[in-house]
């Protein structure tokens, strides 16, 4: 027994750290069934299904979720499109200033959110949009901070591709467009898909940058922030649980799909 513990001490420590990372998730799931005794209750006071049956009860919450989804979808489409093009430029083309541009793309990821948010706010205010903060300014901010993540994700996928596949297509008289359409795009697509998923979750989750540039609009994280000052409705945890389960299902399905494909390929 002691020998077993010694041999696997690193693995056990690893599982311990994972437990630390999951503690708050357990709390979120548990608290979604909470029947709070008071508005500022920090403890589990009793079990109820009420929150799950009436998710939109807290005033303005579902409207905020709706706004977050709308912004998330549009920002994801915009950032994935722009970022994927840029990733192709970096991975497939040589041009002057390429490495400088490459480093520059990392900068948005490396600057603190509060700085990025306040500089965008300074811009909007200086061009006279200070009174028009809302959907469009949030959208611009979200596309900006998602872009770099898309570039990095898609570029990594492109770098992992075997160039001989594209060369083989060209050797078989496919032109550049056919090669791209039939060979490159299908192979890169999983990378583009994960970049899009990442963009959506970054956008849906962002608070600091959004809060500076939202004006009177209220996204879901802003609703949560406001609620945190007044007392948190348990329905927030319902949304949190649904998000978690949905995203986990998507990721596990993708993983399963990959495994099935790998097995098929290895059996051929």
């Amino acid at each position: 027994m002691i020998g077993y513990l010694r041999r696997n001490s690193v693995l056990i420590a690893g599982f311990g750290v994972l437990l630390y990372m999951f503690l708050p998730i357990f709390v979120v799931i548990l608290m979604s069934f909470n029947d709070p005794a008071s508005r500022n209750s920090y403890s589990f006071d009793g079990f109820t299904m009420h929150n799950w049956l009436n998710p939109c009860e807290p005033y303005g919450m579902c409207e905020a979720v709706g706004l977050s989804i709308r912004i998330g979808v549009v920002a994801t489409v915009g950032a994935t499109l722009l970022g994927s093009l840029m990733a192709f430029a970096f991975a497939r083309h040589r041009f002057r200033g390429r490495s400088a541009a490459n480093v520059f793309t990392f900068l948005p990821m490396a600057s603190p959110e509060i700085v990025m948010g306040s500089s965008l706010l300074a811009l909007f205010v200086n061009v006279g949009m200070g009174g028009a903060l809302g959907f469009w300014t949030i959208l611009i901010a979200h596309i900006t901070f998602c872009l770099s993540f898309v570039v990095v994700t898609v570029k990594a996928r492109l770098a992992g591709l075997d160039p001989s596949l594209e060369q083989a297509a060209m050797d078989l008289y496919a032109n550049e467009w056919q090669t791209f359409r039939r060979i490159t795009l299908p192979l890169v697509f999983p990378g583009i898909l994960s970049a899009a998923l990442l963009s959506f979750s970054l956008s849906f989750d962002d608070f600091i940058i959004t809060n500076l540039n939202a004006g009177q609009s209220q996204t879901f994280p802003m609703f949560v922030w406001g609620a945190a000052q007044r007392g948190i409705p348990p329905q927030i945890n319902v949304i949190g649980t649904v998000m978690f389960v949905l995203a986990l299902t998507l990721v596990l399905m993708g993983d399963l799909n990959n495994r099935r494909r790998e097995r098929r390929q290895s059996s051929e």
Binding site: V10, G14, I25, F95, V103, M116, A122, A228
Partner: protein, 282 residues
């Protein structure tokens, strides 16, 4: 594919490049110019550009202790992330076997619920009546009137928790590239596991460690969510102050403090990268 010429490259680059120029680079310049406005103005009456560093001297006089505190909290959280993240990344890379993919999914899974909701659940976990506080009281690590919530410890715990995946993923990526036979070679040459780790594994994982510490330290230094939700008025970080200054309409001061934060982070990062000797990272 070197045979493709530059023009297509520029065309593919242009849309995102222009977007970043307009909404990332230009705003940084606007931030600097806003920080030089005369603070006597307001959004309604307009500001006069004074080119006078008065906003900088004013915010430095008022908020230097908070800047120092932010740096300390971010450093503590980064150190804790190394302490927790390294064993986890190591376990996934070398010990997990068929559990590898599942453990990787588990590392990013907490991301799937909102950052704010997870931070709020630390309020529950660190509350006075929660089991963690009870357990610590039972072993006398916490006095009978001791609190966990609304302390610097709670803020650092929250920061550590929120940015841990940013440490684990790059660490894992560089550990995974290490050839397992190097460990065997170390053992064959009579090195103890600890010596093998110190002289082989650790140096080879440096790129991941440097990337992980930067990805943890930078967002932690600018964060204000943990300080606000888990701390008390005495644990405010620089992000809280910037947000409050903007809320109060003091745009020039808020911008000046933002510029100072950015400059301080860039300076620390450059110094760190030079010391760590991994310039190829940039």
């Amino acid at each position: 594919m070197d045979r493709r010429n530059g023009l297509t490259g520029y065309l593919l680059l242009a849309p995102a490049g222009l977007w970043l120029a307009m909404f990332f680079v230009v705003p940084l310049f606007t931030l600097v110019s806003t920080s030089l406005y005369d603070p006597a103005g307001s959004l309604e009456t307009g500001y006069a550009l004074s080119l006078n560093p008065q906003n900088y001297t004013a915010v430095l006089a008022d908020y230097t202790p908070i800047l120092v505190r932010s740096t300390l909290y971010a450093l503590a959280a980064t150190a804790a992330c190394v302490a927790l993240g390294y064993p986890l990344a190591y376990a996934i890379a070398f010990k997990a076997g068929r559990w590898k993919n599942l453990m990787l999914v588990a590392v990013i899974a907490p991301f799937f619920t909102s950052f704010l909701i997870r931070t709020l659940s630390w309020q529950v976990l660190l509350g006075d009546r929660a089991w963690i506080a009870d357990a610590l009281r039972a072993v006398h690590l916490l006095g009978p009137d001791g609190h966990l919530l609304a302390t610097p410890l709670a803020v650092v715990t929250g920061l550590t928790y929120n940015f841990l995946p940013f440490m684990v993923l790059p660490l894992y990526a560089s550990l995974e590239k290490i050839d397992g036979r190097l460990h065997e070679a170390g053992a064959d040459l009579y090195a103890s596991p600890l010596t093998t780790f110190r002289t082989v594994t650790l140096p080879l994982s440096m790129p991941g460690l440097v990337a992980g510490t930067l990805l943890t330290f930078i967002p932690a230094a600018g964060d204000y969510i943990n300080a606000e939700l888990l701390g008390n008025p005495g644990t405010q970080m620089v992000g809280n102050v910037i947000q409050h200054l903007f809320d109060g309409g003091s745009y020039p001061e808020a911008s000046a403090l933002s510029v100072i934060l950015m400059a301080a982070i860039v300076a620390m990062v450059l110094l760190y990268i030079r010391r760590a000797g991994t310039e190829e990272l940039l």
